[in-house]
């Protein structure tokens, strides 16, 4: 299934609105599907995209790609979006600039997940949108009907032309053979960035939610499926309770007698508190190994070994379009060769790279790349 979503506003609209289109043959027909509902239904691993990662109304300029694929679930989805394209000619009723955003959602199920051509087509769209994103003077104005806009109607009546223009730049690069399965997706993408001379930091991904059920035996090998045993829960709960009680007493005393006096009074207890913290930190959390601090982050010149494949790669500066194209090819190639993967790319300064895990087996690799504009 292929969908296109356009977010825009008419001259007098009370708010921005998302317009959905479904592809039938070579044309796009208007549909009532909402992107968030579509993703909830189609995304494997029960991953939940947060509002920030998909919100089409984002007026900060950004370009993003999200790919999730599970051979076990026989499901894959690819989301490509370009947000915050300012209009040069359209102003709303109070004189403010109109911003346009567009997103493409392609989902496959069953045998189609194994079909390379599905990813190749999405890659072409991504390359076209990357070209559009890289040109700061780009607008969608050539495809906007001003008469419709002034009448408060959807201005892009010729949606097929807009689509054709957006993907017209695409290169014909196919999916590369990466051997990413041997290397690991993080290592492969890290090497790719190094080869392009792009400095980056790698850090364990901030995760929301918790994997509560291990759906199959294969998934249990993932470090993220480590279950708490009852003792661990008990220990953690006790340490937390003692720590919270100590903090509460300290807060209360601070309010009554002030920070300085509280500090003098509390000094002997601080060492005990530190001891408790050490005990707590020595207990492993799901997906976290004993020796690794949760806020571990390192500048790397060569890809460092990350314990789990749930990684945020944060680049420290923007990239040129040629490098961006190579990163996009790398992402799609890695997705093509992996059987269980979630990959993301965000080019821009707005939006959090964050995917919330639902109930189910998590992807064995979840790698997100963040590149500032």
């Amino acid at each position: 299934m292929k969908y296109m979503f356009v977010n825009t506003a008419g001259a007098f609209a009370q708010d921005y609105k998302v317009y959905g289109f479904e592809k039938h043959g070579n044309s796009w027909d208007e549909c009532n599907v909402r992107p968030e509902d579509l993703l909830i239904r189609e995304v494997p691993f029960s991953l939940k995209y947060t509002a920030e990662t998909l919100h089409l109304g984002n007026r900060g300029r950004s370009f993003s790609i999200w790919i999730a694929k599970s051979i076990n679930e026989r499901k894959s989805v690819c989301v490509i979006s370009l947000k915050g394209i300012s209009s040069a000619t359209r102003r709303d009723f109070t004189g403010r600039i109109i911003f346009d955003s567009v997103a493409f959602v392609t989902s496959f199920s069953g045998d189609a997940v194994l079909d390379h051509s599905s990813l190749t087509e999405s890659q072409s769209i991504a390359m076209g949108l990357a070209q559009t994103a890289s040109d700061s003077s780009t607008t969608f104005d050539d495809f906007a009907n001003m008469e419709d806009f002034e009448k408060d109607l959807f201005p892009f009546s010729d949606i097929d032309s807009l689509y054709n223009e957006l993907i017209s730049f695409h290169s014909n690069a196919g999916l590369n053979k990466t051997n990413s399965l041997q290397l690991g997706v993080y290592d492969y993408l890290g090497k790719l960035l190094n080869n392009l001379g792009i400095p980056f930091k790698a850090m364990p991904l901030k995760r929301k939610g918790r994997v509560e059920v291990c759906a199959d035996a294969n998934g249990a090998e993932s470090p993220n499926n480590t279950f708490y045993d009852a003792n661990t829960y008990l220990k953690e709960a006790l340490v937390s309770k003692v720590e919270n009680a100590a903090l509460l007493v300290e807060d209360g005393l601070t309010e009554i007698i002030g920070e300085e006096r509280t500090s003098r009074f509390f000094t002997p207890f601080k060492s005990f508190s530190a001891l408790l913290s050490n005990v707590k930190n020595s207990i492993p959390f799901p997906g976290q190994k004993l020796s690794r601090s949760p806020d571990f982050a390192s500048s790397v010149s060569v890809p460092s070994q990350i314990d789990c494949e749930h990684t945020l790669i944060s680049c420290s500066c923007g990239v040129d379009i040629k490098s961006l194209e190579k990163i996009i090819i790398g992402l799609f190639s890695a997705a093509n060769e992996s059987s269980s993967v979630a990959l993301g790319l965000l080019v821009g300064n707005e939006g959090m790279i964050e995917i919330v895990e639902g109930i189910g087996t998590p992807p064995s690799s979840l790698v997100l790349i963040s590149i500032p504009a």
Binding site: F12, D15, G57, F93, L248, I256
Partner: protein
């Protein structure tokens, strides 16, 4: 026992393009002048500073266009944002207060689009809010006999929402009407007319608040742009046959620059209420021990700050730009 930092939540209500983000940006821009450094200071996260800084920059760029014409205004709020400002005093290491501004896209007030997770979150914000900012678009209220008031200011959804809060919550509701785009009327000496129009335009809410002992309502005329004024409000018929207003603004002179006025008024009202709330919460939590806290002067800095804020507001704001109704006072 409370945390040493009190959360004070402000929910911004107003339709798209009313000027919620502009108001927040000019208020943030004035923070440095709001209180004397010896009495206290404000802290905010980098993301808050970046957001407001960008918005304040966009406001200044509205004056860059040639002649009396005006460049496009700030782009407004696309996704709900919670922006926090912390208030610190020299006598306490931790901030006393975190003032959270919940800036929501204006569309959430539109009954047609107020569904889904965002709308549910918005409803919970109504319960958690300590203060409500209702941003009122002055031209919609006053031009063409106020015929655009309903579609631009959403008085009915706002009054209904606050009516429910007033009836269900013993805390009542503290409401601040911030009238923006009011430069033209203030310059023409029509401030009283604006106050009356707000009371008439939200008459049900004023009646509700009159009956509520713990509630209050204030009206502030805040000139967020200062030297950009309404030229005309042009009615336009859309494809659906509905009549909407198109705004035309102009600079007061070719060399005009951003000169907001009375932006400290809403800030003073919030700080006053937030500090009073914080003091009350603390003293309630330490009942029985307050004699000892008073001996050590634990609340002196906050009490001093309250007096200081009142003095500052009196000296920097036009008192004719403020109307207050306090039924319980």
């Amino acid at each position: 026992m409370p945390s040493t930092t009190t959360d004070f939540n402000i929910l911004m209500l107003g339709s798209r393009g009313a000027g919620k983000t502009t108001l927040l940006a000019v208020m943030w821009d004035q923070l440095g002048n709001a209180i004397d450094r010896s009495k206290g200071s404000f802290q905010y996260e980098h993301s808050t500073a970046s957001y407001f800084g960008t918005a304040a920059g966009e406001l200044r760029r509205m004056y860059d266009s040639p002649g009396l014409s005006v460049s496009p205004g700030i782009s407004g709020t696309d996704t709900p944002r919670a922006l926090s400002i912390k208030l610190c005093t020299n006598e306490h290491l931790k901030p006393h207060l975190t003032i959270n501004f919940w800036d929501y896209p204006g569309g959430l007030l539109n009954p047609e689009s107020s569904t889904g997770a965002e709308a549910d979150k918005f409803q919970s914000r109504i319960i958690d809010a300590h203060y409500f900012f209702v941003v009122v678009d002055a031209p919609a209220l006053l031009e063409h006999g106020g015929k655009f008031h309903a579609i631009r200011n959403y008085p009915y959804p706002i009054q209904y929402m606050l009516h429910n809060r007033l009836k269900s919550d013993p805390r009542g509701a503290k409401v601040l009407f911030v009238v923006v785009k009011c430069e033209k009327y203030v310059n023409e000496g029509r401030s009283k007319e604006v106050f009356q129009a707000v009371q008439k335009g939200y008459s049900n809410l004023f009646s509700d608040i009159q009956e509520s002992q713990h509630s209050s309502v204030d009206i502030c005329l805040v000139e967020t742009l200062g030297s950009i004024i309404l030229d005309k409000l042009e009615p336009v018929i859309t494809a659906t046959g509905l009549e909407y207003p198109r705004y035309h603004f102009r600079k007061v002179s070719e060399g005009a620059c951003h000169s907001p006025r009375n932006t400290s008024l809403p800030l003073k009202i919030i700080l006053d209420s937030a500090i009073t709330t914080s003091l009350a919460e603390r003293r309630l939590s330490y009942e029985g021990l307050n004699w000892f806290r008073d001996l050590l002067g634990r609340d002196d800095d906050l009490n001093d700050l309250l007096v200081h804020i009142k003095e500052m507001a009196t000296s920097t704001s036009d008192l004719n730009a403020h109307f207050a109704l306090r039924p319980g006072a």
